[in-house]
Amino acid sequence: MKFEQRFDWRLFFIMIALVVISCFAIYSAQQSGQYNVNFMVQQLIWYGLGSVMIGFMLLLDPESYKKVSLYLYIFGIILLAGLMVAPNELAPLRNGSRSWYIIPGLGSIQPSEFMKIFLILMLSKVVTDHNYRRKTADMKSDVLLLGKMVLVVIPPLFLIMLQPDLGTALVFLAILAGTTLVSGVAWRLIIPIYGAASFLGVSLVWLALQAPQLLDKYLNVQEYQLGRIYAWLQPFKYESSDGYHLIKSMRAIGSGQMYGKGVGGSEVYLPESHTDFIFSVIGEEYGFIGSCVVIMTFFILMYHLIQIAHRANYAFSSYVVVGILSMIGFHVFQNIGMTVQLLPITGIPLPFISYGGSALLANLIAIGLVFAVHFHQKTFMFNEGRLDE
């Protein structure tokens, strides 16, 4: 089959739409002049770099990715662990976290971004292998699978919490949740576990509000660490500290109203609006309509990923695509949600839109995996007995 037929053109056009949105949004954000840097051009350079990488990724088929997933996973763990022991010049403390490697002459990379991909590959491999070997679908086998998956997630999760980086830790959990859902574990296990997890989450928030001293006593959570939750629920009470960003963001997005203020019409100054708070700028300058276009574009991407997971005739491919879908979906929901007070603020960028080299590159690698899945599908197509479009 020819390249034109194997290439996923739909995904390609969705990505083009995201590039365009990213350029508009970053251009709008950098008008504040917080930094004297043209981030839009830099973002395009990163996109160019990522495109080349995707091109190379098409050369390997999913089977090959499965073979290297264990090594990538170990490599990622070593990188994360390295952050803890690396000297300060190599891994400096930024904004209270040790999440970056400085590579002289090149810039900085954030290994946790790439760990997300490695984790998706590793989890998919574990599930695929388990399901291949097991004889019958019984409770014991399901518990065993769950155990394996949790074991895979714990090391990176632990290292991330050391940095500390709550946002990325939540992304790991989202990937785990998504993969578990499609792994074939019986509903009678999944429902209680998800239920328990949700209950735990809600009760932690409730405790934080009602009895923070208990959290301090039993979980060693300092009160200031709960500031984000307080600020989320009562931003005006904490206007000078944790509530500051939320109030500014709500004011920016709200005042955009239906049609927005147009390019460069922003009135609210938000620090770092080209990265984590890029959606506030979109909301203010492009209004409800523009915001919905962005959300719908992501929704179409999600839909497309589900389609690919459906059609993939190699279980590993489906799991990888579901892992990627969980990761991007959670990023989008958490990032946009925090700008409109739906969720507390965590430092998570909006995929493909926010400025940021490592995060963008990692997301493009994820998309590269999806491209590769689609690209190598033909081998088994006739086994399926149906033709792709």
Binding site: R251, M258, C292
Partner: protein
């Protein structure tokens, strides 16, 4: 493998349903986002806009001080002098009593000049405020009722006797003087209370007590200061006075300047504007409807501009300036024949790096204005002014001849006057007899160069009294060779302007012969310096430069900050001539300065035994010159005297060019050397003396004071 995959595929029958569940969850999450957006933007949107409208944001960029400039040894050349000022911005509805209170408080912290500042009325107004009740009682109340308030006030002031206010002490007078400044202020616009001679202490103390001084503020500003006076001012350039140049308005505005910014508009200030300007501090003020500032937010921290470390050795520069000044004055004054002479120009550089160590240009003012000195510093002329240099460029001529093969190293040419049809007789300054490439340079033979020119033109043999043929393209071939030395092209120096030299167009055979002896095209002293540097460097042409390093602003008071970037030695090209030929020319240059028949030997190795120890090499030059006088007459009894060279001959560490245009012809020398030779000898002496002094006692870090003790005259 297919079988394995088939197995794996069979095991995922649960997948389609689970995927649908997952998609449904995603749908719910995204739907909730849109729902919440609807609430925030459509339901509560207007409220948010009202919230913003209540306040107004204004972003201001605060200027930061410009970067400083240092010489190669870290001696300050351009500094910023801080200017402090204390301002008063009155809130609305302030009464005279409030201002008096403020003046009293302020007088504790600042000194204010009051002599000659105060009128009687000022004193009376003060008396009135202090004794309001009593003064009001002096006026007939019934009479006052019919009058305007202003008239009443005047009456009240009139009732105060001079004797009542005459014996105020100095302290009180100071308060009155301050109050007078405060009274001048309009509501909400800043008025300068004191900006001259505000000491650092006053600035700090007032700054500390701002909370008890409503409306008072302290600001700082700066102006350029030149600790070494005009030693280098000609190169350092200037900056605009609180405006960007109108002609480049759009350009600067697009770079984020504001209309009242100061930018470099000449010299190195202009060349390195982007380095020196720094990053402005950007502040957003949020004001409410009453114009009160409710929030100040620093969007971007400002940073002072980076510092420039220049290649100049300011101590050497001072000495060279003095040598050039002295010799120019002496030369102009010694003979009527020198009545059209006005400039003397010198460039000294490190040939291996292209660093300019000193560059001096002096101008003799025959009719100085009142505030003008007799001799003024016009150093920039070494880049701007161009003259035919005469024989100094013969190194390039010989190399061109050798490389094109029209002469060979061993060939002798008989130097005698040449008669050519169509041009006047062409000769050297005297009949030199047989010369080869080496002695042609040592003794400065013109005829040898004429033969190179004639043969390049297509005349392999010389015929007395015959016309010369001229192959098309000869001039271009000559230029191509000369350009490799920087003669006739820009030197590439880091400066906003440099003259490229004048090449002349459509030359005839006679012109091309003159070209080879430096009598046709014109060059700047900087070009001559690059040319001799190229020969000193075994044929490598390096880019001359003034900037040595860019350094970040230092944190402390005096020391330089860390290096941001440095100017690396830039080899622009290697001349095409072989090493063997370059060696030969270097030898010829050495002979010219040291050989028994050398044209400059008697200067550096005089018969009285004052020999130099640094083994110089180089070439003298004399060009016939003519000057168009103010009255339209072309005055021809003039010569341009030049000298180029380097030392020591085997490992050059300094290269120089000297150019003195419009010296009178056939001067009575009276035992003296010509001015180009005198200057050449002294600047080389100065360089090596300084080097010796420094080897003994290190680099003198402070040369701001007068340091002319080491200058020798004549």
């Amino acid at each position: 493998m297919g079988n394995k995959k088939n197995n794996e595929r069979k095991k995922k029958t649960h997948l389609p349903f689970r995927l649908n569940v997952l998609f449904f969850i995603i749908f719910l999450l995204f739907a909730s986002l849109i729902l919440q957006l609807g609430v925030v933007q459509i339901l509560n949107g207007e409220e948010a806009q009202e919230e913003i409208d209540k306040t107004e944001n204004q972003t201001t960029a605060l200027p930061v001080p410009r970067g400083k400039m240092y010489d190669r040894y870290g001696r300050l050349l351009v500094d910023n002098q801080s200017l402090y000022s204390i301002t008063y911005t009155p809130p609305k509805g302030v009464q005279a009593e409030d201002r008096l209170d403020l003046a009293k408080k302020l007088s504790q912290y600042i000194d204010k000049e009051f002599e000659d500042e105060l009128r009687l009325r000022d004193l009376k107004e003060y008396f009135y405020l202090e004794n309001q009740k009593e003064v009001q009682n002096r006026i007939d109340q019934e009479e006052a009722e019919d009058l305007e308030p202003g008239e009443v006030y005047q009456l009240e002031l009139d009732s105060i006797k001079e004797s009542e206010v005459n014996d105020y002490d100095n302290q009180t007078k100071e308060v009155i003087a301050i109050k007078k400044e405060l009274d001048k202020a309009y509501a909400l616009s800043p008025q300068i209370v004191k900006n001259e001679n505000v000491t650092q202490k006053e600035y700090a103390v007032v700054g500390e007590h701002l909370n008890e001084l409503p409306g008072i503020d302290v600001t700082s500003d700066w102006k350029r200061e030149y600790p070494m006076g005009d030693t280098l001012s000609s190169f350092l350039g200037g900056i605009t006075d609180r405006s960007i140049p109108r002609s480049k308005m759009e350009y600067y505005l697009s770079l984020g300047y504001s209309r009242s910014d100061r930018v470099g508009n000449s010299g190195l200030e202009e060349e390195y504007e982007d380095v020196l300007r720094g990053t402005k501090e950007k502040v957003q003020y949020t004001t409410d409807s009453d114009n009160n500032i409710v929030d100040t937010e620093v969007i971007r921290e400002g940073e002072r501009g980076d510092d420039l470390v220049l290649t100049f050795d300011s101590e050497l520069q001072k000495r060279v300036n003095e040598i050039v000044r002295t010799e120019l004055t002496k030369e102009v004054q010694r003979s009527y024949k020198n009545r059209h002479m006005e400039d003397a120009l010198v460039v000294m550089s490190d040939p291996q790096t292209g660093e300019i160590l000193a560059a001096s240009g002096m101008h003799y003012n025959r009719d100085p204005d009142e505030d003008e000195q007799r001799v003024s510093n016009v150093s920039h002329k070494v880049l701007y002014d161009q003259y035919p240099p005469g024989s100094a460029i013969k190194g390039a001529s010989v190399l061109t001849g050798l490389h094109t093969g029209v002469v060979s190293p061993g060939e002798y040419i008989y130097d005698r006057p040449l008669n050519i049809k169509g041009t006047e007789t062409k000769s050297s300054y005297s009949q030199l007899g047989s010369v080869n490439a080496l002695s042609a340079l040592e003794r400065s033979s013109n005829v040898y160069m004429f033969f190179i020119a004639m043969r390049m033109m297509g005349n392999p043999t010389f015929q007395e009294n015959a016309p010369l043929s001229l192959e098309p393209g000869t001039f271009q071939r000559m230029l191509k060779h000369f350009h490799q030395f920087g003669l006739g092209v820009e030197t590439g120096i880091d400066y906003p302007y440099e003259a490229p030299g004048v090449q002349g167009s459509n030359p005839g055979p006679g012109n091309l012969m003159d070209f080879m002896i430096g009598q046709y095209s014109s060059y700047t002293p900087m070009q001559l310096n690059q040319y001799v540097t190229t020969i000193a460097n075994d044929g490598y042409r390096v880019r001359p430069h003034f900037m040595k390093e860019v350094r970040q602003p230092s944190k402390g008071d005096k020391k330089l900050g860390p290096v941001n970037s440095s100017f690396n030695t830039d080899v622009m090209n290697r001349v095409v001539m072989s090493n063997q030929y370059i060696d030969l020319v270097q030898n010829g240059f050495r002979q010219a300065f040291q050989g028994s028949q050398g044209t400059a030997t008697s200067t550096f190795y005089p018969t009285n035994g004052e020999n130099v120890s640094y083994s110089p090499a180089g070439k003298t030059g004399t060009a016939e010159a003519s000057k168009l006088l103010d009255n339209g007459e072309l005055f021809t009894e003039l010569e341009n005297l030049t000298l180029v060279g380097y030392a020591p001959h085997d490992d050059p560490e300094v290269a120089f060019s000297v150019m003195v245009p419009y010296v009178g012809k056939d001067l009575p020398m009276g035992g003296d050397k010509a001015i180009n030779l005198r200057i050449g000898r002294q600047i080389l002496d100065a360089y090596f003396e300084l080097k010796e002094e420094r080897e003994e006692s290190g680099v003198d870090s402070d040369v701001t004071g007068s340091n002319n003790a080491n200058n020798e005259d004549g």
